[in-house]
Structure formats: structure tokens, C-alpha cells
Amino acid sequence: MKATPTHAAAAEEFLKDEERSHWHDDTLWHVRSKRDVAAQKIPEWESLRTTASQIKDNVLSNLDQLLLQFEKNAIENGIEVLWAKDADEHNQHVLRILEENQVKNLVKSKSILTEECGLNHFLEDKGYDVVDTDLGERIIQFNKQVPSHIVMPAIHLKKKEIGDIFHEHLGTDAGADDPAYLTEAARQHLRQKFIQAKAAITGVNFGIAETGGFVVCTNEGNADMGTHLADLHIACMGIEKLIPRAADLGVFLRLLARSATGQSITNYTSHFHRPRPGKKMYLILVDNGRTNQLGREDFRNSLKCIRCGACMNTCPIYRRSSGFSYGSTVPGPIGSILSPGMDLKKHSSLPFASTLCGSCTDVCPVKINIHEQLYKWRQVITKEGPSQPSKKWAMRFGGNVMSKPKLFDMMGNLARKSLSISPRGFVYNSFNAWGKHRELPEVPKESFKEWYRKNRKQ
């Protein structure tokens, strides 16, 4: 298997197409701006964030009891509940359900969890026809890609490219790229899939412990079109998606869509408690590394995430480098604190793909201290991650120099002197990443300390 490129290398590649990078940045900035406008309309915005964060604090500190309560109530509602330690067990559950019910074709609405588990490939390898029904997901499924954003999966593609994809897969007119025309083609195509499907898979936005039901949010209505026509509904849920009370939805639903896209709510917010008469409803509760993350004190509250994607839209690095540069199911700032917990080695460059600007923390509707966790992952990675001897040596050397005032003054002097007398070609060489597109500061005659000695300490 090919080694995962570092974020920096993948980002550099994406940035080579300057026009596309700017387009990507502008598109997502526009979404961030819409979020600001929506949040500004809510005077209690900041206190809602605090409440949401506190509810999730309670959930994480009481997760075992809440899960048991949730399971008990769900079973009483007639939902079959399954538990999965990891991705493989999750996929096996789905496979067994499909086999037991003799279902071969299924429709799926958006679920980042099933992406995380690699469910589509798993089922396709076994001969199943898995149809993603969210428009963005269907586009990237045709294009054999994974989502580049958790809310807007095809945000990296331009309408021209989508037109070409639809021309190939749906027979739309060559060169046609009008979004209304393309959406209509997808509607006609997917309606047939909805009508034919025997099983529907959905994700879960919120599981309600006190009622044993769950909530799924969409704008397209695709989760509902799928589940209400199919004989069985399989809902896949990460164990952290729980909330204690139904009324907590009031807090989370006010925050979720506004943070995600600037809408006041998704057009459909569906509450599932019981299967339709004679039909089946399954709920798979998945760990897949979540309980490990719960045990990491510095990183556990990353599990508060409600997958709104606001941190991606605001992140100046995500916007300019695109989701694929992260090489993880959940990209962007939140992905950069979740993914190292899943595979430290593979994702060791992600916590460094940040200036620690903190914008992610301030937009997060559940107040995850994302940038502080990035800082903390850096401390872990330098000890437990892939070794970087030269960087380590440089940092130790720097720490030494900075601990010794006389040495610091001498080194500073030396550096300034050598910079001022060195030929340009010597300073701006291929090892000087700073100087590739930037000048170094002009070298002053004396340091402030030298000036101070002369002018104040005589």
C-alpha cells in the first residue's frame, strides 16, 4: 500500500491549481459567512453553545448508563439493537441483516460512520448494489471518490465536472452543467432506486436515551424517501451521538444547521421511534475507537462533535487545501484531532496542518477546544509518532540557546552578521522553505538589547 502523503505535500499539490484553490476557498468562506448571519439572529447563541457543550459533558461522563437506557427503550419500541466494537463487526452486522432478509439492493442516506467503516466497499465486494442517495454522495459515488467534506461531500467538484459525470452515468446532455437540470436528472434516477429498494441505511444525528428513538436530519428528504418505502431500516450510530432527553434536541437543532450551512434548520428533521407495522428497524451502536478516545483526558471532548462541519468551513487551511489533503474520513480541524486517536502514525501530520488560529474552536457549536487539542496532539506525536531526528535536534538546540542569555545574544549577533554578509544565492537556496516565496527580514545594525545598553543602561 502506498504511504499516506503528509498534509503539506497533498496541500501543495492542490494549491498548484491556484484558480481552483481560490474557488474552493471562496465557496466555503461563503458558507461560513452564512453561518455568521444565522448565528447573529440568535441573541442567546453563545449561551446555547455553552448549554450544548454541558449536555455533551454529561453524556460523556454517563455514557454507559445512557447507552443501556437507550438500548432498553429502543428494544421496547420494537427496534433491534446491535453492538459493534469496530468497523468490521459493524459491517458484518449489516451483511447478516441483509442476508437474513434476503435483500440485495439498498439505498443509503448520508452517514459519515459508514464511510469510517468502509461499508460501501465491503458490501459491493459481496455483490450488493449500494446506492448513495444524497445528491452529493451519489456524485462522488459515480466518481469513485470519498466525501471531501462531511456536510457537502462533493464541494470539491465544479458543476462542469458533475455535468461530465452525469453525462457518463445518467446520460444527461454532453456539456450540460446547469445545476437545476442535473438535479432533476438525479431526482428521476434516484426515484426509481427508492421505489425498488428493499432496505434503507441511514446515519443518526441524535439518539435519545429517555425515549429510545433517534433523529435524522436532511434537506433533500432522501433518508425518509428510503426508509419509508423499504421493508427494513438499518440505522448506524456512533455511541457518542446520544443525548439524554428529547428536549435537548431544542438546543442541538438550533445550533446544528445554523453552524453547518447557515440554515435555521434542515428542511426535514425525522424522529424514528418504532418501525412501520410489519416492517423492521435495526440500530447498530458502534464504538470503533470511541471508548479509547473517551479515555484520553486531553482529547475526550472531541467526542462532543455533532458533525456540522463548521470547523472545516472556517478553517483557512482546509479551505485552501481541500478535504482530500487530510487523508482521513473526517477531514479538517475536527478530523485532525479525531484521526490521530484512530491511527497515530498514519495521521501524524494532521495536528501540524494548522496555525493554531483558533477559529475552529470559536465556531464549534459544542465548544470543542479544537486548537488546544491540536497543540496537545503535537506533544504526543513528537514522543509516540514517527521520529524526526533533525527536527528534534533543532528544537533541543533552540531550547538550549534560549536558556542561556549570553549564548542567545552571541548566536543572534552571529546570525544577523552572517545574514548581512552572505550572498543572496547562499541564503535563498532550496533548503530555505521560508525564502521560496518570501524575503527574510532586513538585518538591523544592532539588536534591541544592544540599543538598550547604549541608550538606557549607561
Binding site: E12, A39, R320, T355, C357, D362, G399, W434, F448, Y452
Partner: protein
């Protein structure tokens, strides 16, 4: 009130004029200010690179250097934040650390300045000062607007403060990020500059010289007429109209 001036290592070495302006500002406000000569660095470069332990030596030296002071004042939001988060723990007997602007607005409660600076100025809101120290209300947070650096700049005669399209987006410096993620870093810097350029800014200012050093590096490479100046230089500026013409 004894104030110790902390000058970040790279400012000491490359931007002495920023340190001089900071010192003069404090002196002219009648503050008893001293600059401990054994100071070096707060240790942030090591810590942000994931080697917090190599910043312990500089941190210990820092505590030693400033143990006698009531306040530490520093013309950098980023270094101030690191000092507050990782060198001190907020105990009673420790000096209180302030970034220069917030020291002027919150402690000295400066109401007027004698500075003249007849130019079109764009403010670069450096992230650590903005979101870490609350020097202004970040655009992500809802609530009442405030902006301490802007409040001070508005006291400068002749200045024209320019509104930007993205008023507080990161410039892409980020310490070692600037070299590790060179492509993104430079891309972000160029976009920031474009925002200032499009609004006719002549001078980009801010409370962190590190961000400005990055932007200046790009501006100079691209032979742009736009200059960068630390906010202390502007607040301490004595530029008359004739010099402008």
C-alpha cells in the same frame, strides 16, 4: 507599579525599532518600565512544534527574569498568550502578563495619544491576540463588538483605518507552520495581502510582528509598495503631513 518589558527574541534581533517604540510608549505614559537584559525567548517555537519540554529552560529563565515585576508587558499577542498559558499558572504572587495594546487600554486606560500617522492603515488581527487574549471580538463569536488595537489607532491623528472583507482571517504564519506547510502558508499570506491591497491600504499594522514579518516577506518579494509596521510604531509615530507628500 513596576513593569518589565518582554521583547520577543525575533523582535530583539530583527525589529529593534518595534521594541524601542514599545518602550517609548510606556515611558511617555509615565510607567516605571525596565527591560531585564538576560531575557531570551518564551519557548513558544519549541512548544508549538510539539517539544514543550525543550521550552522548559527558556520558561524557567523567563520566570527568573521577571520575578521582581508587578506586570510583564510584551508587544506580541502570541508570545503573551504562550507566557500566560505555559510559563505562569495565574497565581497571586506571579506578575500579570499583558500584551502591549491591552495594557494601554485596560491598565493604563489611555484616552489620548499625540501620534500622527496620515496614512491608510489596515489592521491585521493576529489570531493569538484576537482569540487567545480577546484583544477584539472575533467574528466567529456573537456579542458586543470591541477592538482594543483599533480603539488605540483611532486616537492617532490623521490615520485612516480601512475596513477589510475578511477582518480577522489568519495570515498563515503559524510559527514552524510557515515552513512545514510552505504552500498553504504563502497562499494564505497572499490572500490576506490582496484583501488589504483591494481596499487601498498603504500600511498593514498589527500587534504581532511575526505575522507582519511573514506578510512583509511576501510584500518585499513581490515588490509591493505596501509597508508593514507594528502597532507600537504607529502609536508612537511622529509623521507630519509633509513627510507623507
Amino acid at each position: 507599579m513596576k513593569v518589565g518589558l518582554f521583547i520577543p527574541c525575533y523582535v530583539d534581533q530583527f525589529y529593534p525599532q518595534v521594541a524601542i517604540a514599545s518602550l517609548e510608549l510606556l515611558e511617555s505614559a509615565g510607567v516605571d518600565v525596565d527591560y531585564p537584559l538576560k531575557q531570551t525567548c518564551c519557548g513558544q517555537p519549541m512548544a508549538n512544534s510539539g517539544y514543550q519540554e525543550y521550552g522548559e529552560g527558556p520558561a524557567a529563565l523567563f520566570r527568573e527574569n521577571f520575578s521582581e515585576f508587578d506586570y510583564v508587558v510584551c508587544p506580541s499577542g502570541s508570545c503573551t498568550l504562550h507566557t500566560k498559558d505555559h510559563i505562569y499558572s495565574g497565581k497571586e504572587n506571579e506578575p500579570k502578563v499583558y500584551e502591549l495594546c491591552e495594557f494601554l487600554t485596560d491598565v493604563l486606560k489611555i484616552k489620548e495619544l499625540t501620534a500622527d500617522f496620515p496614512f491608510k492603515v489596515g489592521i491585521h488581527a493576529s489570531c493569538h491576540g484576537l482569540r487567545g487574549l480577546n484583544l477584539a471580538k472575533p467574528s466567529e463569536l456573537m456579542g458586543v463588538e470591541f477592538n482594543k488595537p483599533k480603539q488605540l489607532l483611532e486616537m492617532v491623528n490623521g490615520i485612516e483605518l480601512i475596513e477589510l472583507t475578511r477582518k480577522d482571517e489568519c495570515c498563515g504564519f503559524g510559527g514552524t507552520f510557515a515552513v512545514l506547510e510552505e504552500a498553504v502558508s504563502v497562499g494564505m499570506g497572499k490572500d490576506r495581502i490582496k484583501d488589504h491591497e483591494e481596499h487601498g491600504v498603504q500600511v498593514i499594522t498589527g500587534a504581532d510582528m511575526s505575522c507582519l514579518m511573514h506578510l512583509e516577506g511576501i510584500l518585499r518579494r513581490d515588490k509591493s509598495p505596501i509597508k508593514v509596521m507594528h502597532i507600537a510604531e504607529i502609536l508612537n509615530a511622529k509623521v507630519s503631513k509633509t513627510q507623507n507628500q
